[in-house]
């Protein structure tokens, strides 16, 4: 569903990504693992069309989106959850949910969102940023699910959250996967990554240095923790 070929990105003169090639299939959860500064966030931003200095080919469900502006990539089915969750303070919880347009039949109804995330229903009239960190993460994920995105780009959804909330997010990622959505996930929490993902890409200095399936990943967990410093 997502085919990325030789994606390179620059910040001015400095090259941040060097010819990254990767795939995410339908109903597959894939993590990007690597140290801080390895280029993980730059990769997601480049996929989303938010990083201007980018070269390479990005195909979403057979369609070349690499020349499209960000809002058209979103409409083509990409759903981005940024690392700070990106909840609007000037919008209520419900407005945060209904702001993005629906992009496919897969789109969740507001009722479905409130069934799965009852806390959002209780706080629907409150400004988005009055929610707790975990609730904001739920809201950010619910917001892209409501659009019916076919590919989720999640930038460290577990960061800074209590274990019980992380587990809940793991369940939701599992449900999303069941429905055939592809998920590309940045994750520093190796244990969490091993519980939710099918495959893993190791990113170092802007290059994919290894691709592992989950069994290999679990077997090398200790080694990864030490050598990647993650």
């Amino acid at each position: 569903m997502l085919e990325v070929e030789k994606l390179s990105s620059w910040y001015g003169e400095a090259q941040a990504l060097h010819g990254v090639t990767l795939q995410v299939r339908e109903g597959e959860v894939v993590t990007l693992v690597g140290r801080n500064g390895a280029g993980k966030t730059t990769l997601l931003r480049s996929l989303m069309g938010l990083h201007k200095q980018t070269e390479g080919r990005i195909e979403l469900r057979g369609r070349d989106v690499s020349r499209l502006p960000a809002h058209r990539r979103a409409r083509a089915g990409m759903g981005w959850v940024q690392d700070d969750r990106g909840i609007y303070a000037t919008l209520t919880v419900e407005e945060n949910l209904v702001l993005p347009p629906r992009v496919s039949d897969r789109a969740w109804s507001l009722d479905a969102v409130y069934d799965v995330f009852p806390v959002l229903a209780d706080r629907r009239r409150a400004p988005g940023t009055t929610l707790s960190g975990g609730e904001q993460q739920m809201l950010a994920i619910a917001r892209v699910l409501r659009t019916g995105a076919s590919l989720l780009l999640l930038d460290e959804p577990s960061e800074g959250l209590a274990p019980v909330v992380v587990a809940r997010i793991g369940q939701i990622i599992g449900q999303v996967k069941e429905s055939g959505v592809g998920v590309l996930l940045i994750e520093q929490n190796v244990r969490f990554a091993a519980t939710v993902a099918d495959r893993h890409y190791l990113l170092a200095q802007g290059r994919i240095v290894d691709a592992l399936d989950n069994d290999q990943f679990v077997a090398r967990q200790q080694d990864l923790l030490e050598h990647l410093g993650i």
């Binding site: 409409r75 609007y88 000037t90 347009p101």
Partner: protein, 289 residues
């Protein structure tokens, strides 16, 4: 007591012009990130257009309140497409150069055509004279300006808080990049938003026409006070623009009544005090980088 009521109404009426214009400035800054130094010139154009309409076609105040903002909206759209759109990719310095240069150009064009002596404007008879309130005779026109402006601010506020367009404007103001990543074509709203902001400045100009001297330079002092208003209210904040506008109007009116020499200075003292306590303004948000 009667003095206080009189100055309050006078201050709020003067504040109405600031509130309406600052509202336009705030919405433009929010969505485009452009600080529009030409806003005073658009205010002046509003007043001059109203005066010219009355003189040449006998279109009076009532129709001018509708027609002039529409004309200014059209003018704003042209200015945005022709000039302002190029700023969005450039260093903020160009923003100052362009909008300030535009001010000089518009002011001089109006001077060439209509001179410097000021155009006359007669208000409708029904707004002449005074209205008795609590035993105080208050100028009817000031009351009209006040009520009309509050109604316009209220409508804008309802649009901003209750409609999808308002939601998109708020989202694009707060985090434009995220709005795009969520599938919103922010660029499509830029031109109408600029036009709308210019129309509000023009509307303030029409309301000021029967009340102030209509000259090419009338926007020059206005824009300076207007920046004090948006700094006090919080740049980009819609509620802040309106509250700041009325607040500055009051300070100006009471200053002129009780300490005329210090009236202008008081506004900037207020601004400095607000910035010391709340650097982002009364209703502004601290940047979360």
């Amino acid at each position: 007591m009667s003095d206080v009521l009189q100055y309050t109404v006078q201050g709020l009426a003067a504040g109405s012009f600031y509130a309406l214009a600052a509202l336009g400035l705030a919405i433009i800054f929010g969505v485009l990130g452009v600080v529009n130094f030409a806003h005073g010139a658009f205010y002046m154009l509003g007043a001059v257009t109203a005066a010219v309409l009355l003189d040449t076609t006998e279109i009076g105040l009532w129709w001018a309140l509708l027609v002039v903002p529409l004309l200014l909206f059209g003018f704003g759209v042209v200015v945005e497409r022709l000039l302002v759109q190029w700023l969005l990719r450039l260093d903020p310095l160009y923003n100052f150069l362009l909008t300030f240069g535009l001010t000089l150009l518009l002011v001089d064009l109006v001077k060439r055509k209509y001179g410097v002596s000021g155009l006359p404007y007669e208000r409708p008879e029904v707004l002449d004279g005074r209205f008795e309130l609590l035993g105080v005779g208050l100028p009817k026109y000031q009351l009209f300006v006040l009520i009309f402006s509050i109604a316009v601010c209220l409508v804008v506020w309802l649009v901003m808080t209750r409609t999808r367009i308002g939601m998109i404007v708020r989202a694009s103001t707060e985090r434009p990049e995220l709005a795009r990543a969520l599938g919103i074509n922010v660029g499509r709203w830029v031109t109408p938003v600029f036009g709308f902001g210019v129309a509000l400045a023009g509307l303030a100009g029409v309301l000021a026409a029967p009340f102030r001297a209509i000259t090419a330079d009338m926007g020059n002092d206005f824009i300076i006070i207007l920046f004090a208003v948006v700094v006090i209210g919080g740049l980009g904040s819609i509620v802040g623009a309106v509250v700041g506008g009325f607040l500055v109007g009051l300070v100006e009116a009471f200053g002129q009544a009780y300490a005329p020499t210090y009236a202008q200075i008081l506004i900037f003292v207020l601004m400095a005090a607000v910035v010391l306590v709340r650097p982002a303004g009364l209703f502004g948000r601290e940047e979360t980088a």
